[in-house]
C-alpha cells in the first residue's frame, strides 16, 4: 500500500476539478490514506471467475419509443442558471484568445 502524498492528493483534486487550498492537502492525505487502507480489504477476497456486479436488477437496455414530447420550459430552466443571455446559458471563456 503506497502512502498517499500531498502530491497525489493534488493530482486527484486536479482530476476531480477541485481547487483545494494548500492547507487541505495534508488533512486529505492523512484521511484518504486511512480510508484507502481500509477499503483495500476487498483485495483479500478471492474473486477468480466472479462476474462483476454493476447493479441489482439485471435489467439491460431499456428502450422507449422515440416520440416527440413537450420538454421543460426554457425560461424556467434559465431562471436558475448562474448567467444567461439570448435564451441560452452564458458560460465563461472556453477558448484562449489568439
Amino acid at each position: 500500500m503506497s502512502r498517499i502524498t500531498r502530491e497525489e492528493v493534488a493530482n486527484l483534486a486536479r482530476l476531480a476539478r477541485l481547487d483545494l487550498a494548500e492547507s487541505e492537502l495534508d488533512e486529505y492525505a492523512q484521511q484518504l490514506e486511512i480510508i484507502l487502507e481500509s477499503v483495500a480489504k476487498v483485495g483479500e477476497v478471492s474473486t477468480k471467475d466472479v462476474k462483476p456486479m454493476s447493479h441489482a436488477t439485471g435489467l439491460v437496455n431499456i428502450f422507449r419509443e422515440d416520440v416527440t414530447k413537450e420538454s421543460l420550459k426554457r425560461e424556467e430552466i434559465l431562471r436558475s442558471a448562474p448567467a444567461s443571455e439570448d435564451d441560452r446559458f452564458r458560460v465563461p471563456r472556453i477558448l484562449d484568445e489568439e
Binding site: 483534486a13 476539478r17 484518504l32 480510508i35 477476497v45 441489482a56 422507449r64 442558471a81
Partner: protein, 500 residues
Amino acid sequence: MSDLTKLSAVELSSELNKGSVSAVEVTKAHLDRIDSLDKSVQSFLHVDKTGAIKQAEEVDKNRKENKKVSSLAGVPLALKDVLTQQGVPTTCGSKILEGWIPPYDSTVVKRLKSAGIVILGKTNMDEFAMGSSTENSAYFPTKNPWDLTKIPGGSSGGSSAAVSAFFAPLAIGTDTGGSIRQPAAVTGIVGAKPSYGGVSRFGLVAFASSLDQAGPFARTVLDCAMLHEVMAGHDPLDSTSINQPVPDVVSAAKLQDVKGMKIGIIKELGGDGWQTGVLNRFNESVELLKSMGAQVKEISIPHSLYALATYYLIAPSEASSNLARFDGMRYGLRVDDGNLSAEEVMNKTREKGFGKEVKRRIMIGTYALSSGYYDAYYAQAQKVRALIAQDLTNAFKEVDVLISPTSPTTAWGLGERVNNPMAMYLADLATLPPSLAGIPAMSVPIGLADEDKLPVGLQIVAPFMNDDRMYRVGGAIEASLKTKWNGLLIDQAPALGGAK
C-alpha cells in the same frame, strides 16, 4: 379533537374521511408545531406553508365535491431535500445548489401529489446524502428529538427527526447505504428501503445510482406500508425501475402473524464492538419472534465482512462521476470574477460549493477509478459485491427473512465523529449488505438501550421484490411490543420544549 399531530396517518385518514376534521386544519396543526418547536430540532431546510395549505385546500374541496380521493389524502408529509419538487428549493444540503428552483417534479413527488398527500417542506440531510449524522449538511446539523445533544442519524436525519418530533406523521428519505434505516433506528421510528428499482429515481438527485433508493418513514409499520404503496411502482422515466406489481406491503403490515416463518439471524452482524444495550434489545426481539411461532436460526453471510470496504469504493466511485454535473455552468453556484477560464470557474465553484465529506468521497472515487488502481479497487469491489449478493441469495433458500440490529450503536453525541470519517462509516455496517444486493430492508423500533435510554432498531431484510415479508415481520413485532409498552416506543420520547 385531541392533538392532531399525535395521530398516525391511518388515524388522520379516518378522521378526514369522516369529515370530523379538514385537511387544512391537519396541515395547520403540523405547521404550528413546526413553527414553535423546529427551532430546537432544525429538521427542515425549507417549510412551504403556502404550498402546503394550498394542497390541503384542494383535498378539502375534492372531498366536499365527493370526488374520489386516496386514503392518505390530506395527510401531511416531510420530504427529504434530495427529491425535486417543482417551484420549491432543492439544495441536497449543499451550498452548490443554494437557490436552485427545480423546474419539474420527481416521480415520487408526482405520486404524493396525486394521492393528495400534503408536502409540508424539505428536510435537512447530509450533503448529497453522504453521511450518517446529518452533520454534513452545509446549513446546520439536525438534532435528535430524544436528546437534543445527539445526532438524528443520516443522511435522512431531517426526515427521521421530523417524524419523531411529531412535525409530520410521514416522511420520505433516501437510502444508499442505510440512510433511511439508521436514522429510523436512532430516532425510534419505522423506516424502509424498498427493493432497488421498486421506487422511481426520476428527480432524485443522484449520489450512487446503483444503490440510491427512496423510501418511507413513519411512526407505525402500517403507515410506512401505506406510504410505500403510494411511492412505489413502475416508471418509464427511470430505466432501472422494475416493471412488476408492487408487493402487497399494506396487507402484510396488517397480518401481525409470523407463525411458521423462517427467520435467519445474520451471524456476522453483532458481537464485539457492538453496544451491549443494542445487542440486549436485539436478543429480546429474537426471543419474541420465537414466542410468536417463528423458526429462528443463525445464518452466515460470510462476505458481509467486506461490505464496508466494498461500499466505500463503489458509492464514492459512482458519486465522483455523478457529481461531475455540478460545474457551475447550468444551475446552482458559480464562482467567477469575470476573468477566469471555464476550467478555473469549475475548480473554484466546486471547491467553494462542496463540503469536506463530499470532496473526500469525490477524491476516493476518482482514485478508485483512475488507471492503475481501477482493477484493484473498483473492479474488485464490484466482484465482491456479487459475492455478497450471492451469499444473501443463498441464505434466502433457507429462510424467509434475515434480521440484525440496524446499527451497532444508538445515537452518538453531535460532533463526536465529525473528524473521524471511518468511525462515521461504521454506523452503516449492518445496513450495507442489503444495499449492495439491492434487496429490501427496514428498521423497526425494539426498545431503548440500557446504558443511554436511546432507541434501538431491528433490521429486517427480505428477498428482492418481496418487500411484503419485512412488513409482515415488522408489523407483528410492533403489535406485540405495543401491547407490552401500552403504546409505541415513540410515545416514550421526552416532550420537546416542555410542550405536551
